[in-house]
Amino acid sequence: MTPTAPVKIATPTDRELVMTRVFDAPRGMVFDALTKPELLKKWLLGPPGWTMPVCDIDLRVGGKYRYVWQNAEGRTMGMGGTFQEIMRPSRIVATEVYEEYWTGGETLVTTELVETGSKTTLSTTVRYASREARDAAIKMGATKGLEASYNRLDQLLAAQN
């Protein structure tokens, strides 16, 4: 078993969110796992109980991709976009838009793979179209448990200091 590296999430600018994670594999392999439907369907599933019945990828500049997830009750969620840059195995830039109205519009997603030793650092930068779009995405994602909690604040501050 590979020891699990934590996912790091940062918000470097008003409109961006950056997520990084280290994988114990060469970057060509990670690139394949990010771009080949038969591999992507095995892991890009989101919350428990969801599968990915549709995963179409036309991997070329200007090409489109579309993913559809489905849960046990049959609810579906679709997402897709257009590839703007592809540099195997180091970089992919693509637009991304969820087909449901609530996710805050189109984002630009830059995926970068850096190999060190036999490990690959994957960084994903999500750039929202506007601050309103990011706010909308964040509000949508916020869980219902919004009650005031000093405990949570303590945890956050402890983690940030």
Binding site: T2, T11, A33, W43, A142, L153, Q160
Partner: protein, 132 residues
């Protein structure tokens, strides 16, 4: 007063600064006047006031009304909202990436099997040896 609907963007921007985080940490222990909040920092009061304004705009703190004192008070809701979202996002991606780890392990072992098989093929002696 606006009870809800602050810009979460402002929340994140407000949290990006260590002085402001320290101010919030202080306010988590109870309300405090501007002079009290400024005391631990090597900063002018206008500089501290500027930080307080950023926190106020983000809805993270409010002003009380005790005569002239007007102590600042923590408003935890926008913060909870922002951290909930980050946590939820992180959890989903932790799970995705754990599955990706497994996919990569599979690819690696398949690749190794292929290499082993090729090496087996080019071996001069037809001695049977199986790789696991």
């Amino acid at each position: 007063m606006k009870p809800y609907g602050y810009s979460l963007d402002a929340t994140f921007a407000a949290l990006a600064d260590p002085t402001r985080r320290a101010i919030l940490a202080r306010l988590a222990n109870g309300e405090a006047a501007v002079t009290e909040l400024a005391a631990p920092f090597d900063m002018s009061q206008p500089a501290i006031s500027k930080h307080l304004k950023v926190l106020e705009r983000a809805g993270l703190i409010t002003r009380g009304r005790e005569g002239q004192r007007r102590p600042r008070k923590l408003e935890p809701r926008p913060l909870a909202e922002a951290t909930d979202w980050i946590e939820r996002y992180r959890r989903i991606w932790e799970a995705n990436f754990k599955r990706l780890d497994a996919v990569l392990q599979d690819l690696k072992s398949n690749e190794k099997k292929m290499v082993d098989a090729l090496l087996e093929d080019v071996k001069p002696k037809p001695k049977k040896r199986r790789s696991k």
